[in-house]
Amino acid sequence: MTNHNWLFQTEQSLVENHGLKLDEFEKIVEGLGREPNLTELGIFSAMWNEHCSYKSSKFWLKKLPTSGERVVQGPGENAGVIDIDDGDVAVFKMESHNHPSFLEPYQGAATGVGGILRDVFTMGARPVANLNALRFGEPNHPKTKHLLSGVVSGIGGYGNCIGVPTVGGEVNFHPSYNGNILVNAMTVGIAKKDKIFYSAAAGIGNPVVYVGSKTGRDGIHGATMASAEFDEDSEDKKPTVQVGDPFTEKLLLEACLELMKEEAIIAIQDMGAAGLTSSSIEMASKGDVGLEIDLSKVPMRAQNMSAYELMLSESQERMLMVLDPSKEEMARDIFKKWDLEFEVIGKVTDTKRLILMMNGKEEASIPINILVEDAPEYQRHYIVEEPSPIKEYKSEDFDQKNILKDLNTMIMHPDLSSRKWIWEQYDHMVMADTVVRPGSDAAVVRVHGTNKGLAMSTDCSPVYCKHNPYEGGKHAVVETWRNIIASGALPIAITDCMNFGNPEKPEIMGQFVECIRGMGDACSKLNYPVVSGNVSLYNETNGEGIYPTPAIGGVGLIKDLSNVKTLSLKEDGNFLCVVGKTANHLGISKYISIIQSKEEGGTPEINLETELKNGNFVMDAINQKLITSAHDVGEGGILVAISEMCMSGNLGITIEIKTNFPHGYFFAEDQSRYLLEVSPNNYDECQKLANNNDVHFEKIGIVGGDKISIKNIGDQHISALKRSFETGIKQISQ
């Protein structure tokens, strides 16, 4: 970037090194009426980067539906909140930790988990479940093994220690992530509806209190790094990655929840990205007040830290609170009990400015509104590219003799194989409320001490999004909806984690806009609003962007745990039925990518009307106790889904279908479909319910034996399939 009329004393390169554009710097000077000092420049850099300001995405995010009868708190707070009856609420959010995880997979992933946990317990909720959504490069890429094992042990290392079960997630492998993996972490917590805590500072003169770990020099400029592209020198950015301490987070969690039982906290905000800077400014902005902070009072881990370093450190496991002054001593005692730092570092003021003092000297004085309301917001130029064309496949091009062999090859592929190697490294049962463990459609966690539960699932198909961002956006939302329904729950709301490339490129911005449009349409139609989210842009290495990846985390409510369904086949003699029509859409399917090594044929389209009808039918059938087990038909198609039900239940099946295009029938990825195991006694009732609701419902097999047998095609032992299924991901790690 060049500017021939640089009139400022501040070095142009200093501004650029802070990730600020020159016109953004001009805006700062205009707002302050002077040039900022270094500390102030650092603060603007932290607040105005993409990660904290959402400057490229804000305009579009506002288009998503965010309200609904169960929404207690939509986007804008630390996490979203939904009503789950009986005075209880679920609090949840998903967040990215992509850049740090690529630089240092263990710590990057671990602190990603730590950060999202804090977002949830800041609001007064006890975290009850962690999930994640992970993308790695090609399985045989030289970095994949190291990144996969580092990320998995980092997620486990943090969650296992703090004692929150990691109950679910998803993982994909694709060359578009070779130089930029994605690590998205989600936490779900439970609170009482009348005990939710917010971040708006209030009460002039009230103490601003710092609690948790000491501040060190780690993670300085982490959020700015996370808002830049990678290049050959990216490894040099390793020192910007924070180091996590789950034990301290456990102490912080317990101390905060203990204090939250008292009427002491007026406002609370965790110190996440951009640490003390964003937390203090967020609290002041939300409360429309000012804050004055004496930085010399901040508990420090290193000697001689400057105001600049203290404001920009991303040391983990810290919180900022505004307390009722009469409760200060009581609060101090609680934090002392848990051996944590507790320091009054400032006070709420009526100046509407952030004033920073250090050793009696003023280090910064910035009006809050310039930092927040006046933050740059861009309506970036975008181009919507034509979606990849839909290809018609013909039966003649496939040899039906290969169907079971192809199935075997497909379930061995890391994209479809068992994820057991991953989730066995996560404690998924601590808290003793995990009802459905990882490996089914959605995980189910009981609300402690009740007979109700939460179902949760994370999903996205980046390949669908790449080839048709609008349909891909719809699909990501709908896939979680289906998973939640198949587990026996009522889907309520989602959180989103929008991972994209450089928004300054019009075609990338076009992907973003289209994914949002697709998500919005699906959310509206399904009454499934967005309550929280996060945006991660500039996921590029050497100018090559990742595939558009709007990862969605959905949450649903099961009012009666006896209605929980899993995908395992349960009993000989039961019928296996399919819900929804199969129209041989093989485009972009796992079959085409794994067996034919191609990525073509167009993203399957979703008819939201049909989706809603089919989903409601499955929900009704489960609630009427007509269903024995349920599974949604996802990537890989019907035969992969059937084999998953067989392997999980250790039961075989005999399949008989009428089709003149077996490959199309078995591997197509047409949408809005489910597989249901129905006992013969309930079959007629089920068929009637389907007819009444205009839902396509068809019996395709009978459960029993130890093989998958397809009439006129052949059979395959479940035990042999299981061996293949177990190899895929495990192989990468060896």
């Binding site: 004692g163 996560y426 998924h428 808290m431 003793a432």
Partner: protein, 223 residues
């Protein structure tokens, strides 16, 4: 029936085990904070799983020197039943109440899954009701080791509480999840009033867990 659950700052199975005890015995156990120095009269002291002090040093090493552990050791020596689960087992070893060491799993990774165990000692207050039982393990350091002299001692004295096994009760390398010597999943002290075990019976203690095999261990001691 009075029971106590020790709570270290990083314990994370303290609530789970308290719930199991309450459900099975009808009595609410008393939670005892690690900074306390004594426990009242007790019929069972549980040292629960978790990460006591973060386990950044050897697992359980710091916890073994905490104020409350001095009294746990004293009570154990007086004959009070003490049950250490997972991290609790590690702490009991570090406190000198049990023999051996718990090393990193042979796979060098954390393992969380269901396993099967069967009692070797069938007469102790903890093991007398249990047959082949399914329950989860969730640990990174559960690979039990003792010297050959110690092994002979604990074998001769019937101190092996549980061994990892298969559905038919066979103890084999195949059924060993973590590399433990002799598939040892839990051991007793000489007087058989202290049990340390890696598997989590409190996570297989009600229908919602999908398995209730863990109940037998609590039932045998609580009733």
């Amino acid at each position: 029936m009075k029971s106590h659950v020790i709570v270290f700052p990083g314990s994370n199975c303290d609530r789970d085990v308290a719930v199991a005890i309450k459900n099975i015995s009808g009595h609410q156990p008393q939670m005892v904070w690690h900074k306390e120095t004594s426990i009242d009269q007790s019929d069972l002291i549980v040292v629960p799983g978790g990460f006591s002090y973060g386990d950044y040093l050897r697992c359980g090493a710091m916890a073994s020197t905490s104020p409350i552990m001095q009294d746990v050791v004293k009570k154990a020596k007086e004959g009070v039943p003490v049950l250490g689960i997972c991290n609790g087992f590690q702490i009991l070893i570090e406190s000198g109440l049990l023999d051996g060491a718990l090393m990193r799993n042979s796979s060098l990774s954390f393992i969380c899954r269901d396993i099967l165990i069967k009692p070797k000692n069938q007469s102790s207050v903890f093991t007398k009701k249990t047959q082949v039982a399914k329950m989860p393990i969730a640990h990174n350091e559960g690979n039990f080791f003792v010297t050959s002299e110690q092994l002979k001692k604990i074998q001769d004295n019937d101190q092996i509480a549980f061994q990892y096994c298969d559905e038919n009760g066979n103890v084999s390398e195949h059924s060993n999840p973590n590399g433990s010597l002799e598939n040892i999943a839990g051991i007793l002290n000489e007087n058989k009033n202290v049990l340390g075990m890696m598997p989590h019976p409190e996570r297989a203690a009600e229908l919602a867990h999908g398995c209730e095999d863990g109940k037998t261990i609590f039932e045998s001691i609580l009733n």
